[in-house]
């Protein structure tokens, strides 16, 4: 049926995938566009969380329950594997966030700011304080 422009059922049926896309793009955009180092981490967290949603969505089966044996042969189970994978990914995400925040603390202690623009300015001065003009560092 090539004449159907928008299949509404299809679009609504994949609601969680749309949300995944929106969250992912928001997160990526925040990570790239914000100059504040903390906000970048917030963006990164959003980005990672969207992936959790992708994985959990694909393990879901309509009417499926948690994969615990009930004894009833008609029970439909959700696929537990993506859930387990995403538990690992959550741990990785926490470790990344913790490390990133630790780095931000050190940066703010040594440089006195968490704004990328100020940091770039300071590094520029550091470069030209140490190096000859025209040395080019970026």
């Amino acid at each position: 049926m090539p004449d159907i422009v928008l299949d509404l059922d299809f679009a609504l049926g994949h609601y969680n995938y749309w949300m995944f896309v929106i969250l992912m793009m928001t997160g990526l955009y925040v990570t790239v566009s914000r100059g504040n180092l903390i906000k970048k981490i917030v963006g990164l967290n959003l980005f990672q969380t969207s992936v959790f949603m992708l994985y959990i969505s694909m393990g879901k089966i309509i009417g499926g329950t948690a994969p615990i044996l009930t004894g009833d042969p008609d029970t439909v189970y959700s696929n537990p594997l993506p859930h387990v994978l995403i538990l690992t990914a959550i741990v990785v995400g926490i470790a990344t966030t913790a490390l990133a925040l630790a780095l931000v603390i050190r940066i703010s202690e040594t440089l006195g700011t968490v704004e990328e623009d100020d940091i770039l300015k300071m590094e520029h001065e550091m470069d030209f304080g140490v190096r000859k003009p025209g040395g080019g560092s970026r």
């Binding site: 992912m24 990526l28 990570t31 180092l37 970048k40 990164l44 980005f47 990672q48 992936v51 992708l54 994985y55 694909m58 594997l81 993506p82 994978l85 690992t88 990914a89 990785v92 470790a95 990344t96 490390l99 990133a100 780095l103 931000v104 050190r106 940066i107 040594t110 440089l111 940091i119 590094e123 550091m126 140490v130 190096r131 000859k132 040395g135 080019g136 560092s137």
Partner: protein
């Protein structure tokens, strides 16, 4: 007892450094933790050598983690290709560790050294794990273990230069975006195949045929790994991370981390994605080939204008990664051999050069090229090692660099792409310029008045010279490396489902 150890070698390869890492943290300050970490690195090297010998015969070794049979359990699968990469990684670690003692002592306070070596062992664990595993999601987990510890290691350069902190932060942001892209790609593959075992994925993807989800998965994985391996437009994290990390860390990650990422790309490109020759060939030819060539030139050009030796070498690394991707982009047997052989050759060369840079940092306190004036007279052995490594970087005959370029040129001529062959030689000329700048400063310019620079200690010179020696040895007699690379290319081609042009 010995039987148990031998049958479990693939697991021990990863478990030994992993378990050693927290022990190392508990050993307390200074030399004890260093000695322990060195011992562990020697042990892992011994394990990878024996795995390489076992895999070299031909049959891949399959190890079931925890006794769960693949494709449901996690499989460690070792063929010639990853045994070769394992040997590179653990071999470089075993050389960097003896080197690290003096270098780290001068760059990191004594009470933090135990944590430094802990992070180092974790990084080693991650890199070995990525290489050895046959499970796609496991690759992600180990990739993040190695990356997270690398961020910490890079940040530990802050005692020498506080810019290491922002370098590590930027690396963290870009590395995490890359890893997350990778995991999205894996998710899409899982969605259509329902499996994570690489060999099983390959079979099911071939059955499944082409689809949009598959292509999206391919692109996500390609970009994610591209970020990790500093493929040209995605390389922005690399120069700062390499220049501000402690010297021992730079020589370790420059020689191994990007190589492991190239290995992952090879593995996914050929073993896992075998669905459509035309799609893959056109991706390689239209995306990877131009990117590789631009990297060779742009990064080399930028390297020429650097004032800092470590930063110059970092840009040169980006150019060298261009060579590896170029070999891949040919999509022929010779091209693959060039890529795989260059993994080893570049690891040896760049490892040696960054070790030399670390020696300069130790005695001169800085790695800026202008401070290296006349250093050839004060530190003859260190500077000579730089010259030998530099020649290999350029690709002069009798060095390993020549072997890589020989195969690359041969591969491009086989396809009749002679402009590419000319470009390979042209970019080597750029390497001549940036290596010459350092040589000129070191030998031809007078030393500044009143500066005392002592020759680097033996514990740092010997590892650097071992690597230089290897780069000359395998430049004269490349039979071992090229045979291994050729067999590795054969297994890659054999495992892929796509039709190969001969």
């Amino acid at each position: 007892m010995l039987d148990i150890i031998v049958t479990n070698l693939p697991a021990l390869q990863v478990v030994v450094p992993l378990v050693a890492a927290p022990v190392c943290a508990m050993l307390g300050r200074g030399d004890r933790s260093w000695a322990f970490a060195t011992l562990v690195s020697f042990l892992t090297f011994a394990i990878s050598v024996s795995l390489f010998v076992a895999a070299y015969g031909g049959e891949p070794i399959s190890y079931e983690m925890g006794g769960w049979a693949p494709p449901i359990g996690i499989e460690y699968r070792i063929d010639v290709l990853n045994a070769f990469v394992l040997m590179i990684v653990s071999g470089i670690a075993a050389l960097v560790m003896p080197y690290a003692r003096r270098s780290v002592a001068s760059e990191i306070p004594a009470e933090r050294q135990a944590f430094f070596y802990t992070a180092f062992l974790l990084c080693l664990t991650g890199l070995l794990g990525v290489t050895i595993t046959g499970d796609a999601f496991n690759v992600f987990v180990f990739l993040e273990i190695s990356s997270l510890s690398t961020y910490a290691l890079v940040a530990s350069g802050a005692w020498r230069n506080k810019r290491a902190l922002t370098a590590a932060y930027n690396y963290l942001i870009m590395g995490t975006v890359g890893a997350t892209f990778f995991v999205i790609g894996i998710g899409m593959l899982y969605m259509i195949t329902g499996t994570l075992n690489m060999a099983d994925l390959a079979v099911r993807i071939a059955e499944h045929g082409d689809s949009r989800t598959l292509r999206m998965g391919f692109v996500f994985i390609f970009i994610g790994i591209g970020l990790k391996l500093a493929m040209f437009p995605l390389h922005l994290w690399l120069p700062n991370a390499y220049s501000f990390a402690p010297s021992a860390v730079t020589s370790f990650i420059a020689a191994t981390a990007t190589k492991v990422a190239v290995y992952v790309l090879l593995r996914f490109m050929f073993t896992v994605f075998g669905f459509d020759y035309a799609f893959q060939a056109s991706t390689l030819e239209n995306v990877l080939l131009p990117v590789a060539i631009v990297a060779m030139f742009a990064a080399s050009l930028v390297a020429i204008f650097q004032d800092d030796l470590k930063r110059m070498l970092a840009y040169s690394s980006i150019a060298q990664i261009g060579y590896m991707l170029l070999g891949l982009a040919f999509l022929t047997h010779t091209g693959l051999v060039a890529t795989i052989v260059h993994l080893f050759n570049h690891a040896v060369t760049k490892g040696a050069l960054f070790m030399v840079a670390g020696c300069f940092v130790l005695s001169a306190g800085t790695s800026s090229i202008s401070s290296l004036r006349g250093v050839g007279r004060d530190m003859p052995w260190t500077t000579a090692a730089f010259v030998a490594g530099g020649l290999s970087l350029i690709g002069l005959p009798l060095t390993v660099g020549f072997i890589s370029k020989w195969y690359l040129v041969q591969a491009s001529l086989e396809l009749g792409w002679w402009p590419v062959a000319l470009l390979i030689m042209g970019s080597s000329l750029l390497a001549v310029i940036y290596v010459w700048r350092v040589v000129e400063a070191a030998y031809l310019q007078p030393a500044p008045e009143g500066v005392i620079r002592r020759e680097a200690p033996l514990s740092m010179l010997v590892p650097a010279w071992i690597l230089v020696g290897l780069s000359i040895w395998f430049g004269i007699d490349a039979s071992l490396t090229t045979t291994a690379a050729s067999r590795a290319a054969d297994t890659l081609i054999g495992s892929s489902q796509i039709l190969w042009q001969e």
